[in-house]
Symmetry: C2
Subunit: 552 residues, 2 copies
């Protein structure tokens, strides 16, 4: 039996468009000899549709579109389609997350998701009623003499032999094992974090081996807001070995031949942290900008490494002709920063323009001279500069119809080393989940592998916001390697202050950093969306109270 994995990049909410894409891919799979094909989880709606699911009209339309798709595929291959279904039982949440079996022009079987992730960026208990208690054959599909267990994403992630602790009491794989399946299929919408594919392949391989079945895993690809799905759908032999893998970060119709497992292809991939980061943020930026209906972007070029990397990402994602770099020097900008930015624009091949901000600074100074009388100069004056730049960039964005990309990294977003409505202004952020240390590593990797387009001076000079004379980041912050290590422990591993100190960090430094993180919460609440890359990013999966006492 040959299975066609339809690894597609859906637009969230675009039911008709996604159905058209699935239809074409199914026909392509048939041409490649597939006996049946399957999509990723909720391929029809795109994942995650979030509160669109609270609109009954949306869910009902998904059903109508599916019926039409099934009919259109009457003469094509059978399709196992990831979608949603209204819960009409009169009890529980409004929707089921499900896979529908479409064969001979009709929908003939439904498989509902049992385990509903509700942590980090996932909110599935908000929308979905789980599959009812296990019944014999409840998630079993019989096709061409094969017994196939149908699971949806999280359903495969609760094996008691694999995990030290489990999130759920039920295990759909264990429930299905009573039917001795020949094959487990898993429809997923599994967003990337760095290193996740290794975990997936290890876990799925162990499950295939445990039940001694073949296993086929179909994942979504593409960026939807803060989440990037890396594809890399794959297949496993009953001994747990990986026997096929679709390419990462691109759409693919990938065939897994269950008869001659050795005939399958395993797409080459680069699992290094920098390569995964680069591919994720390029795809995530391209999809966010284009799915929002934009072609062009604007980036403020400061001469620093964050805006340089963001510009390189944008040039790769959208084409150099669609990126405009804007220099907005103040009297505190060094000539080096201006030269480096111009050199960067030349090197990347993007257009640049220069708008000095001193005249506007002066007009603010005059207007505010009376209300500021008697108050010392402080960070207020720095923030004004930053917000002048934000206003100029947004004006260009409005006038040109180009989305403004904001350039802040995770370290500065964590400690609030950024100005709300200033350098934080923008529609999207490419590197908000890359810490400063990671941005440097990425820039070097980029120059070695793709560039060299980022001028060396940008990478080697000490970071500075250049909002006052001779300012350096390290005047206000601990060295970035220390800062980033503390932040990772606190943000990704939920370490408290005491736990971090126990690991050997200086107590005063840790206290200062955690206080900065706490105080910057109000800025993050109003930050632009950015791409998740770590197990815990600032974004939809970071939900902190604001007006609180927070001693962690």
């Amino acid at each position: 039996m040959k299975i066609g994995i339809l690894q597609l990049n859906p637009v969230v909410g675009d039911l008709d468009g996604n159905a058209t894409k699935i239809h074409a891919a199914a026909l392509e799979a048939a041409r490649l000899g597939a006996d049946f094909c399957l999509t990723s989880e909720m391929a029809l709606t795109g994942y995650p549709p979030r509160d669109l699911l609270l609109y009954g009209g949306f869910v009902d339309k998904a059903r109508i579109v599916t019926e039409k798709l099934a009919l259109n595929l009457k003469d094509g291959p059978p399709l196992l389609l990831g979608t949603v279904e209204r819960n009409s039982t009169g009890q529980g949440k409004p929707v089921f997350n499900c896979a529908l079996w479409c064969e001979n022009g009709t929908i003939s079987q439904v498989f509902r998701k049992t385990l509903l992730p509700t942590y980090d960026v996932f909110d599935e208990e908000r929308y979905f009623e789980p599959a009812p208690a296990a019944t014999p054959k409840g998630n079993i599909l019989e096709f061409q003499g094969k017994t196939i267990a149908v699971t949806i994403c999280e359903d495969a992630w609760n094996d008691k032999d694999y995990w030290d602790s489990r999130t759920y009491s039920r295990d759909p794989l264990d429930e299905a094992s009573a039917s001795n399946p020949d094959l487990i299929v898993n429809l997923s919408a599994s967003p990337i974090f760095l290193g996740k594919q290794k975990l997936r392949e290890d876990m799925l391989g162990s499950v295939a081996k445990k039940y001694s079945t073949q296993l086929v895993y179909a994942n979504q690809v593409g960026g939807n807001d803060d989440l990037v799905f890396d594809g890399r759908s794959c297949g496993f032999a009953p001994d747990g070995t990986l026997v096929g893998r679709a390419p990462g970060f691109v759409e693919a119709v990938h065939i897994i031949d269950l008869n001659t497992l050795s005939a399958n292809t395993i797409a080459e991939d680069d699992f290094s942290q920098e390569a995964e980061t680069w591919q994720t943020i390029v795809l995530g930026t391209r999809d966010y900008v284009q799915k929002s209906g934009f072609a062009k972007v604007l980036i403020g070029l400061s001469g620093g490494i964050d805006s340089a990397v963001t510009a390189a990402v944008a040039a790769e994602a959208l084409g150099t002709e669609n990126v405009i770099g804007v220099l907005m020097p103040s009297p505190y900008s060094s000539q080096g920063s201006i030269d480096d930015s111009l050199e960067l624009a030349r090197s990347l091949g993007i257009r640049s323009m220069t708008l000095p901000i001193e005249p506007i600074m002066n007009s603010f100074e005059t207007t505010l001279s009376e209300p500021f009388k008697g108050y010392p100069v402080d960070t207020t004056e720095e923030n004004i500069q930053s917000r002048i730049r934000g206003n100029l960039l947004m004006a260009l964005s409005n006038k040109y119809g180009a989305m403004l990309l904001t350039t802040g990294n995770k370290s500065e977003l964590a400690v609030g080393y950024c100005t709300i409505y200033g350098d934080m202004a923008g529609g999207f952020s490419a590197i908000s989940d890359v810490d400063k240390t990671g941005v440097f590593a990425l820039a070097r990797w980029y120059n070695d592998t793709i560039g060299p387009n980022i001028p060396e001076a940008i990478i080697t000079k000490p970071p500075s916001a250049e909002l006052r004379p001779d300012q350096k980041d390290q005047d206000s912050l601990p060295p970035y390697d220390i800062l980033d290590a503390i932040l990772e422990l606190h943000i990704e591993h939920h370490n408290s202050m005491h736990q971090i100190v126990e690991k050997g960090f200086d107590q005063e430094t840790v206290e200062r950093v955690l206080k900065l993180v706490r105080f910057a919460e109000f800025k993050r609440r109003q930050a632009a969306p950015g791409i998740k890359l770590t197990p815990r990013s600032f974004g939809t999966g970071w939900r902190m109270p604001l007006a609180c006492k927070r001693e962690l």
Copy 2:
């Protein structure tokens, strides 16, 4: 038996501070003759602590503080304390939402919440493992010869006889009924929406009657970020009648005497929409500002009704001496708007200052003349003005240490009739869940009941953003009564375009409004937090995808 309800206003995360407050209130309850007392849900942590619960150190500290509190109350009354408890079973979510029975200096019994709301603003499945399957006496407390069923908030909200459809399969009240309780207690953290107390009293009364038991309901009071808890804890007789109610919107130690139900007091209350709105936004604004560590606020005064109402709220919440109104007239500002703003400031008794923005506008125009060459004037120029004002207000905020309140209403936030980083700038919004029609009604109610402090001209003149000559809101938007009716159907009732048109609204108007709502999603993502007043506000309970196709 006399029960002391401790209706308190906790600071989220302030375990020590909240424990001190609970301790003092318990002693006060004892002085008033309480045999035992109870708090609201999670009174120790404050509700909702959100992702603080993902920090094991925080949850462990809650246990330590509870043990100390129990010990400190050794000679005081027994206490049923709403708090959290680490899940040490090795399976499931990290925490239990629970009530702990503290008597004779120790914690002697634990009651866990069964039903975990995960919809709208609630995320309880994200953190909490539900109580295990029902056991005899599982949620029963025996005290002084009484059998008491202990429930936590949502546990009481799933009665199959009361609701047309149910969210959960379990019903903790039904489970407890096997023990024939004399009394049901319910520890709640139930945030207000307009009219909710009527629903609570009706539903809780019906439950008391159904099981023929007394019922005591203890609710939290105070504002925590976007949520305001209105208190109004109450008690019911076994025939379902309301026999006692604590006052709304203030802390109270309220005694319910179960022996002589007729002896209890029912605090007077005003359930009119305007009175509830006013009390909610005053309390929510005061608590957000003060719990954030601020005393003073700034408000941009435009001469319009939104900034006028916001200023009145702030003056009431924080004291007139803590409110500064800032006029920032442009050449498009009418003399009427300037006069009205000055009159408003005088009438409210708040300080005002005037900063004309024309010189700054000119400096932006000069700086942008080259990049704008050949482009027609459009809304870009309007947004620049708005962002100049945002920058000035934030500069004053930074310099004075005063929080900027943003003044947008729900109608304009819905359709995007506002400028991101401009008039949307600010730390908090008082009226972002009041539609324009509601703002007018509130202003009139305020002048009739509390004021008259809002100049009549502000209420009667046609709304205008005054960003270009002779601009009126109604040039760009449908009449507000029609707009607000469409928005309510779409936002609060999840009606699709077709459903709204079927209710008699003009199709073209509905399409235009829904398109505006869709297109403004990116602005709302970066909006300041504001106070929830309706069953569905823009805020933590509104989770829409951004880069999507959204045809609802």
